[in-house]
Amino acid sequence: MIVGGVLLIMNTLSYKAIDGAYPHTVLALIVVLAAVGLYRSFAHRREPVTAETPTTGAAAKTSGATTDWPGRSITASVRTLAYVALTVLYALAWNWIGTLLATLIFVAAVVLLLGERRIWLIVGVPIVLTALIYYLFQVVLYLPFPAGPLSP
């Protein structure tokens, strides 16, 4: 955060005073406060605040609390990462295969990923949601969704 702030400040230096003064002040404050926060986290001998990333620590902490989630073989943090990856892929896929087809596939994939094994949900939820989105956004609101080269 500190490094990023300094880099952006250097960017603003080229701006005229009236345009640069405000973002400049904001950035300088962020850098100073980030430094204060960093100093405090060491001074108080707590675990550094940045240590709790999605892939470490947290999963171990909560896994004992609630174990009623189905499909326990995959760990929760791997699942979270997979969800993020699928969502990014889904957003990108709008421009490849079109929003509606992408939605159909994405929803089925996430329902499966989260450990749902009831077949009527795996099939039903994507179809109902895609139909709903088609009706609300295309028929009622005339929203032009992006259509990719491979879209039907």
């Binding site: 345009d19 962020i30 947290a58 929803v107 956004f137 992006p146």
Partner: protein, 496 residues
């Protein structure tokens, strides 16, 4: 004036108009409670439809949608911890903890009743004192709006829990993101891609910031549904006189403050809800319960938000100054029918103005009835299995982000904001100050810029405007007080 008000009620009580407003309320609830869809979107869509109507039903339909949509933003905030509109971010602070305890129905009831009380207060202000308040508004210039926005921003330290430094950092990140795009002088800043010329879009950022961290936590913590506590289904909160005896002053205070905040062009429900929430917390005898699910927090936030909706019509009707996108749409609907809002409105179209205000009154009653009837049913969303909820909300969020401007850049913004929000939450930094910074940043800078243009210099702008100066001093006092209070609290907890 008295007979005009009575005549107004008589005209707006026609079955056609009531039916139309009921439809408006339902549309408003659907758009307001879906993250990504806003009341402004619904109003824009229906503006062409309203051309074909008379001016009265057209304007009342739009008002019904607008008011209901601002309230409905609280629904996903309470049930899913995802605010449907920016004003609902204050509802979330106590509304979602209540839902977590199984009190979703009670939170929703307090929220809708608060919204009703706030709207009625604003409708009363419109009916009886609009012309007088118009004069007050005409005194307020950019220096005052800058001071109000600064005040709103300093509230982040008192409304969020945890480190003051972290809250300020979060607010500053919001301000920083708000500087992307054109500066008030027209100079482009941080424009790394042409999509950024007008800055980061607010609604997609809001959706991403709150939706994705919530869903990711749901997966990571292996929660089977958002609320695992048993839902209290039959809640009669605020049906008994005793409940009112305990909370009436909160309703009144939040409504009055909300009406006052809503009058300022640019302030509106998002600042108002935080100001009234903060006031309720400040005077409360059970301060530590705020943030843990205190019903007074929900009441204050939603009363304040909705009181600031209709009072936004005061500068619009009396001075012709629109304070928000929504009021621009309503002014547009009036002008398209040949009615020019402004100082002459009450002379030329007095009866129409009073009929609109009376109609707004009735629209509020409809909102209350529909909201109360659906509250128990809506609360069940919190019980939908995560396996279904996560993919459905993901898709709705991204499609909603896209629908704001029909660009894929907005979808990417929502995703980016989501990852930023998750990273900040992992560092125990609340994203609510960031949201406030993002909303208030452009208001703050634009008004500061204008104030400096008008008064020559920054001290000149502030020291010649007593109202602005007082609000800036209160802001500083608020920051200092919060830092000292928090320090005392930390010493106390360290000792334990």
């Amino acid at each position: 004036m008295g007979h005009m008000i009575l005549q107004g009620f008589a005209s707006s009580l026609s079955p056609t108009i009531i039916g139309l407003m009921a439809v408006g309320v339902v549309i408003g609830i659907v758009f307001g409670s879906t993250p990504g869809l806003t009341g402004a979107a619904a109003m824009t869509l229906l503006l062409p439809v309203s051309y074909g109507m008379d001016v009265l039903p057209a304007v009342l339909l739009l008002i019904a949608i607008w008011n209901a949509a601002v309230w409905a933003g609280a629904v996903p905030a309470i049930v899913m911890n995802i605010p449907g509109t920016s004003a609902a971010a204050a509802t979330l602070l106590d509304g979602h903890p209540m839902a977590r305890k199984g009190l979703a129905t009670r939170a929703l009831r307090s929220s809708i009743i608060g919204a009703f009380v706030g709207s009625i207060a604003a409708a009363l202000a419109l009916l009886f004192v609009a012309p007088a308040l118009g004069y007050v508004v005409s005194y307020l210039g950019p220096a005052e709006v800058f001071a109000f926005a600064t005040f709103g921003l300093t509230l982040v330290v008192s409304v969020t829990r945890g480190s003051v430094v972290n809250a300020i950092i979060s607010a500053l990140i919001g301000l920083l993101i708000g500087t992307f795009g054109f500066a008030p002088s027209g100079f482009p800043r941080f424009v790394f891609t042409p999509d950024l010329l007008s800055g980061f879009p607010l609604i997609p950022a809001l959706i991403g910031l709150f939706t994705f961290p919530e869903l990711m936590n749901l997966i990571r913590e292996r929660r089977q549904r958002i609320v695992t506590a048993e839902l209290v289904k039959h809640d009669t909160f605020l049906l008994r006189a005793g409940d009112w005896a305990a909370h009436w002053f909160n309703f009144v205070r939040s409504a009055v403050v909300g009406v006052f905040m809503g009058m300022h062009p640019g302030a509106g429900p998002s600042i108002s809800s935080f100001v009234t929430y903060n006031e309720a917390r400040r005077v409360s005898k059970t301060k530590p319960e705020f943030g843990e699910g205190n019903v007074d927090g929900v009441i204050a936030a939603d009363t304040g938000a909705n009181a600031a909706v209709l009072s936004g019509l005061i500068p619009a009707f009396t001075l012709g100054i629109p304070g928000s996108v929504d009021t621009i749409i309503i002014i547009a609907a009036l002008t398209l029918h040949g009615v020019e809002p402004g100082p002459t409105l009450f002379e030329k179209h007095g009866q129409l103005a009073y009929t609109i205000f009376a109609g707004a009154f009735i629209a509020n009653v409809l909102m209350l009835i529909i909201g109360l009837l659906t509250a128990r049913w809506i609360a069940n969303v919190a019980r939908v299995p995560s396996t279904v909820l996560v993919p459905v909300v993901t898709v709705l969020a991204l499609v909603g982000a896209y629908s704001v401007d029909n660009t894929w850049f907005d979808v990417a913004t929502a995703l980016g904001a989501g990852l930023l929000g998750y990273a900040l939450r992992s560092m125990r930094i609340s994203t609510i100050p960031l949201l406030l910074g993002l909303i208030l940043g452009p208001i703050l800078e634009t008004n500061l810029y204008q104030a400096i243009q008008v008064y020559g210099s920054l001290p000149g702008a502030i020291f010649t405007r007593p109202v602005a100066l007082i609000f800036l001093l209160i802001s500083v006092a608020n920051l200092v007080h919060a830092s000292i209070a928090r320090r005392g609290h930390r010493v106390a907890t360290d000792a334990v």
